[in-house]
């Protein structure tokens, strides 16, 4: 029996060793190493000057366009991305990361730290003709809100615009909570919905969805985020989450992000010919 115990200990030690190796493999890599991995693993990613230490950008082919994405904007290099099995690059979309410092430096009025949390975020970018068609479709949630249809039959519109954001607040009743998110959700809009009038389509009426949730690591600090969407080119669309205080500078932020992302597009045939 003592022999059996020793064997089990050995098994435990071996399993621990395997776990340690796995953990080491999952830990964030220095940019240079991760860059090589990014370029070699993704079918869409084509390395530019990978042999050089001075590599500053990685080429991604998305939605028929080639983007030279600066490495500091690669969402795949974020520590969190190292632990998730999901790719940050698809055939028609990719995630780009903009640090709180970058956004703060480029956008007047942007606050990089709020409630002790960094206000940098990933930007979801959708590209291509199919995305254009998808984004042209009407948004059922927005239409239901406008026409006061279920599940928003009892929606409440706050009488005055919110001081911090300059938007009207639409509160679904009963309060909505998603599983896993403790906080409620609500909507912000520049103009009031009116179910007696036709749904506006030019431009389309589409409120922002906001949610409040408790930070896991920061010990129950409440965080407020609102998702804003924008079309930055004929066939390029982005979505980014902003905290309510930074919503005040959303137009400038979207303009800066649009200009920056469009500057990554390089005139190159998707087959690789310049």
């Amino acid at each position: 029996m003592p022999q059996l115990r020793i064997t089990n200990l050995y098994i435990g030690a071996i399993v621990s060793l395997i776990l340690m190796v796995n953990l080491t493999a999952c830990s964030p890599e220095p940019p240079e190493q991760a860059l090589t991995k990014e370029a070699s693993q993704s079918e869409n990613a084509q390395p530019s000057n990978v042999q050089s230490v001075e590599v500053k950008a990685v080429e991604l082919t998305v939605g028929g366009k080639v983007f030279a994405v600066p490495i500091e904007h690669l969402a795949s290099l974020l520590p969190a991305a190292q632990f998730t099995p999901f790719s940050t690059v698809g055939t028609t979309s990719f995630l780009a990361y903009f640090s709180a410092a970058w956004l703060s430096a480029h956008v007047d009025g942007y606050q990089p730290i709020l409630n002790k949390g960094f206000q940098g975020d990933t930007v979801y970018l959708a590209v291509g003709e199919q995305m254009k068609k998808d984004y042209a479709r009407l948004h059922p949630v927005s239409m239901n809100l406008w026409y006061k249809r279920e599940p928003y039959g009892n929606r409440v519109i706050m009488a005055e615009k919110e001081f911090n954001t300059g938007f009207y607040v639409i509160q679904p009743i009963p309060y909505q909570s998603r599983a896993g998110y403790e906080g409620e959700q609500w909507f912000l809009t520049e103009t009031l919905p009116d179910e007696t009038k036709p749904y506006p389509t030019g431009p389309r009426w589409q409120p922002m969805i906001c949610s409040r949730k408790t930070g896991l690591i920061e010990g129950a600090r409440v965080k407020t985020k609102c998702a804003i969407k924008a079309q930055i080119a004929d066939d390029m669309f982005l979505q980014v989450d902003l905290s309510s205080e930074n919503l005040q500078v959303r137009e400038l932020l979207l303009s800066v992000l649009g200009k920056e992302i469009k500057s990554w597009v390089i005139e190159k045939d998707v087959n690789g010919d310049s």
Binding site: N8, S16, L19, A101, A105, D108
Partner: protein, 181 residues
């Protein structure tokens, strides 16, 4: 019967050993990046600053490795600013007045945009701490530190706005101290 119990105990013991080592490894990996100063490599040299000046004392800060970037954040802790600037209030409206500083090492393109910038812009704001809402005057300052080839941006609240030049001088002093090459 006794053998079966013993086998069961052995299985429990080995599971415990695995879980213990796993926990130990996760804890160690979480702690691994928390020691030592923060290092930022920029096109204009490297800046190394102590942890107490990290912009936000959270897990995310500590886990991000030094990127080669021309943009970074740090903060002057409220008590540090109070100690070094006469009149600066560490706490106002019940909130600690840490000074968060955005630093940008200017590339040629950005140099054109931010050359000689020395601006301030104020607005009425309120703290985003649901359900509390405390109004305050918040000003944003931008300054091109031409001798260092960098631009800084920082915010001050309420009465502390009158000390913005002193805060700027303290920021420049710290950056000069932290630049190693």
């Amino acid at each position: 019967m006794t053998a079966k119990i013993q086998q069961g105990l052995d299985a429990v013991w080995s599971c415990f050993a695995v879980l213990f080592f796993l926990g130990l490894l996760i804890w160690q990996s979480a702690q691994a990046e928390t020691r030592g100063p923060i290092k930022v490599r920029t096109d204009n040299g490297t800046f190394i600053f102590p942890r107490e000046f990290a912009a936000a004392d959270i897990w995310k800060t500590l886990k991000i490795k030094p990127f080669e970037t021309n943009y970074f954040l740090f903060r002057l802790p409220s008590t540090y600013a109070e100690k070094n600037i006469q009149g600066f209030a560490a706490i106002e409206n019940y909130f600690e007045q840490h000074v968060v500083v955005t630093v940008e090492v200017l590339t040629k393109k950005r140099q054109v945009e931010l050359q000689d910038i020395d601006s301030s812009r104020c607005r009425q704001a309120s703290h985003d701490l649901y359900p509390q809402s405390v109004p305050y005057k918040r000003c944003e300052y931008r300054k091109h530190l031409s001798s260092d080839g960098i631009a800084i941006k920082y915010h001050l609240n309420g009465e502390n706005n009158q000390y913005y030049r002193e805060v700027e001088a303290l920021i420049q002093k710290k950056l000069n101290e932290w630049k190693v090459s």
